[in-house]
Structures are given as structure tokens and as C-alpha cells.
């Protein structure tokens, strides 16, 4: 029975005769985030889950008030007065409401290289849209935060974080599948 691709790759990596043949990938730059010591990857998709995912996005934006960011949603539910209370600089946050052409709008925002952070607050339709977004994020070195449910088979997502409250304190932890994303990054 043939090996699965991952086990075949692992065997090749562990083969002593091939030592030095594999070059470890250059780590991607990361955006500092006080709630997640490793930071958020720039040039990849990060999924934020849990009851406080919007709060986590806003905390990140508040920690980087000069960073150009975009908030894109199919039907706008973002409430800017609440954003300001959390320290977000509204002058650096572009809102885009895209009831139609939502995947296109997200990809254009990321591809433009104008924004360092793009928060996606509505679900994307399929894995193809996610893959396209991942490629655009890699090329633009943009931190794409998916603060909405993911479609089936969301393998392009690089990291998954769970955001919630513990005794009134906002917590961000790695989700179950986050380790898989890190392993794929090498």
C-alpha cells in the first residue's frame, strides 16, 4: 500500500543521506499582537473563532493605530462608535460593504498592497475564494483576519485562533488545527 504524501515527505526529510538537501523556508514577518505572543502572520490567512473575535480584531487595530486597515463585510454590522471606544483609529480604517462581488472586493483590497491588515467579517463562499485570497495575501504580505465562519475544506488558512473571555479578560489561544498550519509553514 503506498504511503500518504505527508508520511512520504517526512521519511525523505528524516533520511540521513539527504541531509542538507532541504532548505528550511524563511519565516514570514509577523504583526505584533499582545494577546498572541507569536504575533499574526503577514502574508497569510488567520481565522479568528469564538465569541470575542471582533474584540480581538479591534484590540489588534488599537495596538497599531497608524497601520492602514480595511474592514470588509457583505452586509455591514460593524458599529464604529464601539470601535472608537476600544481605541481604533477610524481615520486608518476603510469600511467596504460588498453585498455582491464579496470575494472580488476582499481580493482587491488584499492585492492592492495598500492595507497591512484586512479584516473579513463575512464568510467566503468556497475554498477556491480562500485559496485566491491566500495567494494574494502572500504576494502583498498582508495579514488577512477571517472573523467569520469558514467554508468546508478551508486548508489555505494558515492559523486558527480562538478568541473568548476568561473572567472578563480577553484571551486569544491557538485552535486545535493551528498546529497543522504551523507545521505546513515549516
Amino acid at each position: 500500500m503506498p504511503d500518504s504524501p505527508s508520511s512520504a515527505l517526512r521519511r525523505l526529510i528524516e533520511d540521513p543521506s539527504l541531509e542538507g538537501a532541504f532548505i528550511s523556508s524563511v519565516p514570514r514577518p509577523r504583526l505584533d499582537f499582545s494577546l498572541h505572543a507569536a504575533g499574526l502572520v503577514q502574508g497569510g490567512l488567520t481565522h479568528l473563532d469564538g465569541p470575542a473575535r471582533t474584540e480581538a480584531v479591534l484590540r489588534l487595530l488599537a495596538e497599531h493605530p497608524a497601520v492602514q486597515a480595511a474592514w470588509v463585510e457583505a452586509r455591514l454590522t460593524a458599529y464604529p462608535p464601539g470601535f472608537v471606544q476600544r481605541g481604533v483609529n477610524l481615520a486608518c480604517l476603510l469600511f467596504v460593504e460588498a453585498p455582491e462581488h464579496f470575494p472580488w472586493a476582499v481580493t482587491e483590497l488584499v492585492r492592492s498592497q495598500v492595507f497591512s491588515v484586512v479584516a473579513v467579517a463575512s464568510p467566503l463562499p468556497d475554498t477556491m475564494a480562500l485559496r485566491r485570497l491566500q495567494l494574494a495575501a502572500e504576494r502583498a504580505a498582508c495579514a488577512v483576519l477571517l472573523a467569520a465562519p469558514l467554508p468546508e475544506g478551508s486548508w489555505p488558512v494558515r492559523a486558527r485562533l480562538w478568541c473568548g473571555w476568561e473572567a472578563g479578560v480577553l484571551k486569544v489561544e491557538e485552535g486545535e488545527q493551528a498546529a497543522l498550519g504551523e507545521a505546513a509553514e515549516g
Binding site: 471582533t54 474584540e55 464604529p80 464601539g82 481615520a91 467596504v96 492592492s112
Partner: protein
């Protein structure tokens, strides 16, 4: 004074040369034309801005950009001189390292009339060249080698004037150049050899790029940005069939744009949107691009100190594309408004409008707000919302904080079209077992007594 001359031995169409001269205005405000064969640019006043090599490269790129498609790009010749005549002679007859150039005597025509082709002057110069050749002179070096005195008596007044011009003492006044009033460019899509129409998608993009490059170069020459565009699609003429009216696709821009790449993206979007709506009835014969509205604005100097200018240009182009497809009101920055009504406590600020700082509300507000309040049903400790298609959502309420009473703003005029006066509301922050806090209100009066609750927003 130092003059550059861009000379096209195979003449260009006059309107093309005018467009090129217009684009050259970015380099110097003193530009002149010679018929359909040369553009003069006075660069002495800006010699500290451009090195000769830089200017040479820029002019070559501009020259290639305005040549017709399908022609080899290096047809333009570049000449330099202390004045227009010398620059034209240099461009026409090539460089020479000698102090007294070995250009033929016909080069005197360049000095006699650098800006106009005058048949009478050309005849005079030709006769003089023949006379000088009969005396054994072969080139301008020999011409200038003759003793300086008594030129008028020996060769006539014209020769004396030419001698003065060669020595740079009697310069010619520059004619005024005025750009065309309408900024429009046309791109012929027909095959150069067969003159047949019909281009594929990839070729169309290539032609569109050329068109945008030329329009952007002219905009830059005028120190303007495009605020509106019109793309004209002309269809091929078929014998036996009635000519079709061209399609004109108007493209108003949310933000003025000057970069060719941004113009191309915008027009490509517009073409793709049109292609989704209707099919082309025939092959395309030509594309025309007209700037219908402009806004003042210098093109940014790229990478002067950082990438800021490039980023601003990319941002403006992006905002225009998004506004075009999604609608202007859907691409915006937010600005706080000092109102108590939660739905009116902020407004959508267009990207070009300057921002006004607003203070944060003293009472905690949720991060998300429903587009319109959702009716909740309270069943014991549960809150239920019946959505579309009978789908229900429920939360187990654990903790009620409040109320915060938000009254009607009676001192403000009510906008027309608003029906009943707003009712005072009592807001509650409801902690739930699901982890999401809800922002719930009940209205004063009859509704409150009936126990109706509304979901206004939530902390997520």
C-alpha cells in the same frame, strides 16, 4: 540654453506629434514642434533636475510610446544643441566629436528655419550650398573655417545670418505650443499588414495598455489627473451591412487617477462588466479613450524618499474600482456624530472628505449593530429570535445590566419622510451562556407593558 530635439525621420501624424509634445511638458514648460517630424524641448532651465542620460532615456521611452503600434520602437533620433537649429542638425545628421562638425552643407537648412518647413528658405539654402560646394567647401566645418569678416559682401546677407546662428549669436524665437483642447487618444486595432479587424482578449488588453500609457503621459504633461473617462469602441465596417454606432462606456471616477496602471485596471473592469452584460456585435476596429473630466494634481515623484506617493496612487485607484463596482456609498471611512440614537451616532464619510475628530461615547457600546432591530421573544431565561424561513436563534440570558434610557432627541429637526416620532428606549446589556453579550432594548409605553424586546446589537 540647452535644447533637446526628438526627431522622427519617418514623419508621425501631426496629432500624434502634438500628443508627444504635450507629454514632454512634464520635462519643461518650453516645448515647440516642427511640422510632423520633430519636437524641441528646452532643458537648460531644468538641467539640475535631469542628467543628459536620464533625459535621453525618458525621451526615448516617450517617443516609443507615441509611435504607432507595430513599428520598431527605436525610430526616433535624439539631438542636443545650444539652440534649436543645432539640436535639429545634430538629430538629423548624427553626432560628431569635432568642434566644427562634419555635417553636410544641407544642415544649414536646420539653422535657417528650425521650427518650420519653408520652401523659399529651403531653395535659398540649397542655392547657397551649391555655391559653397563650387568653392570647394564640403561640410559645416569648412564653412565655419572661412575668415569671419566680410560675409555679407562675399556670400550675401543670408550667409552672414547663418554664420551668426551657427556661432549661437542670433537665435530664433520659439513658436508657442498649445496642447489640444480635448484630451483624447485613438488606438487602431486593425492588423498592420492585412488591415483586418478582430483582436483576442489578450491583444485587447495590450492595446488598452498602450492607450492608457499615452493618456497618462499627456495628463502628466498637463499636471492633471483624470476624474472621468469615456471609452469608445468602434466596430469594423462590413460591406453590405449598415455601420454600427460605436459603444461609449462612461467611467466617472470616485477619486482622480493619473497612473497608467490604475487607469488600465479601471477600464479593464469596465470592459469586463460590459462584456458580462452584452456581447460585442462585431469585431472591434479601434478603441478611443477620452478624458471627460480632470482634476488638478501633479503626478507624484516615485520613490523620492519612500513609497508613500506610490501607495497613495494605488489607494486612489483601488477606491475608484471598488466604488465603481459596489457603489460610492459602500466604500467609506466612518466618522462619529454626537447623537444619542445608536443608529445615527456615526456616518459614512467619503474617502476624499477630510476627517473630523469625534469623542468616544461614555457608555460602553457593542462592536456590531443589527441593520434594523430584531424582535426577540422572551421565554423564561431564554431569548429567541425567529428569522427568515422559520429559523430560530436562541440565547440563554444570564445577566441583565441596565437600563440605559435613550430618549428621543426632541431638540433636533426630524428628517422628512420619518413617520412616527421616535419613542424612548431602555437598553440592557444581556450576558448569555453562549458567551456573546446582547444589546437589547424595550420601548416605553404599550409595547413595554406587552414585554416586547428588540435586539439592537451584540458584543462579538
Amino acid at each position: 540654453m540647452k535644447v533637446a530635439c526628438l526627431y522622427f525621420p519617418a514623419s508621425l501624424p501631426p496629432e500624434t506629434l502634438r500628443s508627444l509634445a504635450e507629454a514632454c511638458l512634464r520635462l519643461s514648460s518650453q516645448v515647440a514642434l516642427r511640422g510632423s517630424e520633430a519636437v524641441f524641448i528646452e532643458t537648460g532651465g531644468s538641467r539640475m533636475l535631469y542628467g543628459e542620460e536620464t533625459l535621453r532615456a525618458r525621451l526615448r521611452v516617450l517617443g516609443a510610446r507615441f509611435q504607432a503600434a507595430g513599428l520598431p520602437p527605436a525610430l526616433a533620433r535624439l539631438g542636443w544643441g545650444a539652440h534649436a537649429g543645432e539640436a535639429l542638425a545634430h538629430a538629423r545628421y548624427g553626432a560628431s566629436g569635432d568642434p566644427l562638425p562634419r555635417w553636410p552643407l544641407e544642415a544649414l537648412d536646420c539653422y535657417a528655419s528650425p521650427f518650420f518647413e519653408d520652401e523659399e528658405i529651403a531653395l535659398h539654402v540649397k542655392a547657397m550650398a551649391a555655391a559653397l560646394r563650387a568653392l570647394g567647401l564640403r561640410d559645416l566645418g569648412a564653412f565655419m573655417g572661412l575668415p569671419a569678416g566680410g560675409w555679407g559682401e562675399r556670400f550675401g546677407p543670408n550667409a552672414a545670418v547663418l554664420r551668426e546662428r551657427l556661432e549661437g549669436r542670433m537665435t530664433v524665437g520659439w513658436p508657442r505650443f498649445e496642447p489640444a483642447p480635448r484630451l483624447a487618444e485613438l488606438q487602431d486595432l486593425r492588423d498592420v499588414e492585412t488591415q483586418s479587424a478582430g483582436v483576442d482578449d489578450e491583444a485587447l488588453r495590450f492595446h488598452l495598455k498602450r492607450l492608457c500609457d499615452r493618456v497618462a503621459a499627456r495628463l502628466r504633461g498637463r499636471a492633471l489627473r483624470a476624474a472621468g473617462l469615456a471609452l469608445e469602441l468602434r466596430f469594423e465596417r462590413v460591406r453590405g451591412l449598415i455601420d454600427l454606432a460605436p459603444w461609449i462606456l462612461d467611467q466617472p471616477l470616485a477619486l482622480p487617477v493619473a497612473e497608467p496602471a490604475q487607469l488600465r485596471k479601471l477600464l479593464q473592469e469596465r470592459l469586463e462588466a460590459e462584456a458580462r452584460r452584452r456581447r460585442l456585435p462585431r469585431n472591434l476596429e479601434s478603441l478611443g479613450l477620452t478624458v471627460t473630466a480632470t482634476a488638478p494634481g501633479f503626478s507624484p515623484q516615485r520613490d523620492a524618499f519612500d513609497r508613500h506617493e506610490e501607495e497613495v496612487e494605488a489607494r486612489d485607484g483601488l477606491l475608484s474600482r471598488l466604488s465603481q463596482r459596489l457603489g460610492k456609498e459602500r466604500v467609506f471611512y466612518a466618522e462619529l456624530v454626537p447623537r444619542h440614537d445608536p443608529g445615527r451616532a456615526w456616518r459614512r464619510r467619503p474617502p476624499l472628505e477630510p476627517s473630523a475628530p469625534g469623542g468616544a461615547h461614555p457608555v460602553p457600546r457593542p462592536t456590531r449593530l443589527a441593520r434594523r432591530p430584531l424582535l426577540l421573544v422572551r421565554a423564561g431565561e431564554w431569548l429567541l429570535h425567529w428569522g427568515a424561513a422559520g429559523k430560530a436563534r436562541r440565547w440563554r440570558a444570564l445577566d441583565w445590566q441596565g437600563p440605559e434610557r435613550i430618549g428621543s432627541e426632541w431638540w433636533l429637526p426630524r428628517p422628512s419622510g420619518e413617520g412616527l416620532p421616535p419613542v424612548d428606549r431602555d437598553y440592557w446589556r444581556v450576558g448569555t451562556a453562549e458567551g456573546t453579550d446582547l444589546w437589547v432594548f424595550c420601548r416605553q409605553g404599550e409595547e413595554a407593558r406587552a414585554g416586547a424586546l428588540w435586539l439592537q446589537g451584540w458584543w462579538a
